[in-house]
């Protein structure tokens, strides 16, 4: 590496300001995503489809979620009911679509809350260190003694089941557990000399946390968030399985899988297949999308695959 050597130029991925001015940065980013991370782009696209379906569920669903038709019970998939019907004659496609809405909401809200909690605890604990770190970590230890599901069951059985409390409990659960991961990343970033440099130039703690520590732990945070979205959707499904999830007749994927899906599995396998496949695809797509995002948002990865 000599001083006179030109810096590694990346004409394709880091266009000069003149060229970049022609494209909106978001458009440019999506183009990069497709070119450099096709799998991630595929995941992102799949996820986007589910997101749109969820958002527009009430418009595009051919039937109402709880509209029963006793004449058409446990019908196999047909032209009028693309995914078949359940034991009450409700249209499965409509229920899966509206279920997407609920599942995504639980997933995103819980993962969002978890990420915020993880970041706040992880930053304070990792950066401040010393006594603060000790106190926070012993609290996290104590919290992690309880199995996730047990805690969920206790809370739900006390305050009753419903989306707000499920989101809150899942968010806190994942957030406090995940703070350990953020803390570890913070400790490693904190030891970098640029943190020291910022301190020596007189920067305040909040400034350093926001401009130096947080951007450099973002790869960890993004992956944490995307895995938590999937985990929260699955956890809600698990709770529904135990009858503690979002209460019926609201159509959640977990509820559909565990309730009717399980009961009529041999007579009408499509009842379990449809929500199961949706669950799998959403969790998979958000995970590959998250990994791609993590790589693309790292400036050091520019131009590499």
């Amino acid at each position: 590496m000599t001083d006179t050597a030109l810096p590694k130029t990346m004409p394709e991925t880091a266009p000069s300001p003149l060229v970049a001015g022609a494209r909106h940065p978001i458009v440019a980013f999506i183009q990069r995503l497709i070119r450099e991370k096709p799998l991630g782009a595929f995941g992102g696209g799949l996820f986007l489809i589910f997101l749109v379906c969820g958002l527009l569920a009430n418009i595009i669903a051919p039937y109402a979620a709880n509209e029963t038709n006793m004449a058409l019970r446990l019908e196999a998939p047909s032209l009028s009911h693309w995914l078949g019907t359940d034991h009450l004659g409700r249209d499965l496609l409509s229920r899966v679509l509206i279920g997407a809405q609920l599942s995504m909401m639980v997933g995103f809200l819980a993962a969002g809350l978890a990420t915020v909690v993880s970041i706040v605890l992880g930053l304070l604990s990792g950066y401040l260190g010393g006594r603060t770190d000790m106190l926070i970590q012993r609290f996290v230890d104590a919290w992690m003694i309880f199995p996730d599901l047990l805690l969920l069951i206790v809370v739900v059985s006390i305050v009753g089941s419903g989306m707000p409390q499920i989101v809150l409990v899942l968010g806190l659960l994942y957030g406090i557990g995940g703070s350990r991961i953020v803390r570890g990343a913070v400790i490693s970033v904190r030891e970098n000399m640029y943190t020291h440099a910022a301190q020596s130039m007189g920067a305040r703690t909040l400034y350093i946390l926001w401009y130096h520590i947080l951007p450099n732990v973002m790869p960890v945070v993004i992956v944490l968030f995307t895995t938590r979205v999937g985990a929260a959707i699955l956890a809600e499904a698990g709770l529904s399985f135990l009858g503690l999830g979002v209460p019926p007749p609201a159509p959640t994927w977990g509820g559909m899988l565990s309730g009717d899906g399980r009961t009529y599995m041999y007579m009408a396998p499509w009842l379990a297949i449809a929500p199961g496949v949706c669950l799998t695809i959403v969790v998979y797509s958000i995970n590959v999308f998250g990994d791609a995002l993590r790589d693309l948002l790292d400036p050091r990865m520019r131009g590499s695959r």
């Binding site: 590496m1 000599t2 001083d3 050597a5 810096p7 590694k8 130029t9 880091a14 300001p17 970098n192 000399m193 640029y194 020291h196 440099a197 910022a198 301190q199 020596s200 130039m201 007189g202 920067a203 305040r204 400034y207 401009y211 130096h212 951007p215 450099n216 790292d298 400036p299 050091r300 520019r302």
Partner: protein, 338 residues
């Protein structure tokens, strides 16, 4: 602290002393067991005194672990000070809080050894160089800020058009220039350079050292230069302090120190530098001192150097020699000259 300041021989602001460090000590506690019982301390810096004159380059040299960097960090108040006194521009900053230090930090900036680790990989060069301005609320409007960054980049020999790039797109030498530009953003009077060139290729070292010397001349900077590469030190320094195990053993002007080292350790240290002439190299004594540097945790009694010193005398084992001015104006801590 006001009476302490009036006691000082160099209290008036117009004088030549930029920074004065008196009997600085930095001890790290060594703890053991569940209750963190303190069982001892590592005396990383143990009674170091020196002063920096305006516009000079003062080098701290010594082997790894002798306390050079710790001394510099303590002088910057980036390291808790166990004892001693630090005066900067006539003001005693030893007990300043970090909030009180903020305005002082504008006047003293740091250049780091590692040109890779010291730049945030997620910030554009413009934001790295301008960061001190932002931190101190001096960035002004966008036009002014950009102009200042361009000016700084030009000053250190970088093309201002590269401001939108990220650090990983630059070579080691260029990154070190970025680090230097950042340290100059606030027009400091003191730059603390912690091994600024030792991570660079030899050919690049010369460029960066020369850049630093040019900048010093242009901007009237004072350098506290930490290095273990004696040829670089000889090139850039006005005065040199030699450290051994947390203490300064000799302070002298550059040429006398390199031509006629007087402290046995200085002599040994200089003798360890290879000469680029095989004839001279072959005729030189091979090794003056033997043995390893003792552990800082358990340093020898008296003069720390006595177990390895070829000229050791009985009092060296019991009495710590003081750093005193000698007849030729240097400061030497050695019983040989007492």
């Amino acid at each position: 602290m006001s009476d302490a300041a009036t006691e000082m021989p160099h209290a008036d602001p117009a004088d030549e002393t930029l920074m004065q460090v008196d009997d600085l000590k930095v001890h790290f506690p060594v703890t053991e067991g569940l209750l963190n019982r303190q069982v001892g301390s590592i005396k990383a810096v143990d009674g170091v005194s020196f002063s920096l004159r305006r516009g000079e380059t003062f080098s701290l040299v010594g082997e790894s672990g002798c306390g050079k960097s710790t001394t510099a960090l303590a002088a910057l108040r980036m390291q808790p000070v166990t004892a001693g006194r630090i005066l900067f521009e006539g003001v005693d900053i030893t007990h300043y809080s970090q909030a009180q230090m903020r305005p002082i930090r504008r006047r003293m900036q740091m250049v780091y050894q590692d040109p890779f680790g010291s730049l945030n990989p997620r910030m554009r060069v413009r934001d790295i160089i301008g960061e001190p301005l932002v931190v101190h609320g001096l960035a002004g409007d966008k036009v002014k800020y950009k102009a200042r960054v361009r000016e700084l980049m030009a000053l250190v020999g970088l093309l201002p058009d590269m401001a939108d790039r990220y650090p990983h797109e630059f070579s080691g030498g260029q990154r070190q220039r970025i680090g230097i530009a950042r340290s100059l953003a606030l027009d400091p009077s003191l730059l603390i350079c912690d091994e600024p060139v030792s991570a660079l290729d030899v050919s690049i070292q010369a460029q960066v050292v020369n850049l630093m010397m040019d900048l010093q001349e242009q901007l009237g900077l004072t350098y506290l230069f930490i290095a273990h590469d004696l040829s670089v030190v000889r090139h850039i320094s006005n005065r040199v302090a030699v450290m051994y195990l947390g203490r300064i053993v000799e302070i002298a002007d550059r040429d006398p120190l390199f031509d006629t080292p007087r402290h046995p350790y200085t002599e040994a240290l200089l003798a360890a530098v290879p000469v680029a002439n095989p004839v001279i190299e072959a005729s030189r004594p091979q090794q003056i001192v033997t043995g390893e540097v003792p552990s800082v945790r358990n340093p020898p009694s008296g003069c720390h150097f006595h177990p390895r010193c070829p000229k050791v005398m009985p009092e060296c084992k019991t009495e710590t020699p003081a750093l005193r001015p000698r007849d030729d104006g240097r400061l030497i801590a050695c019983h040989l000259y007492d």
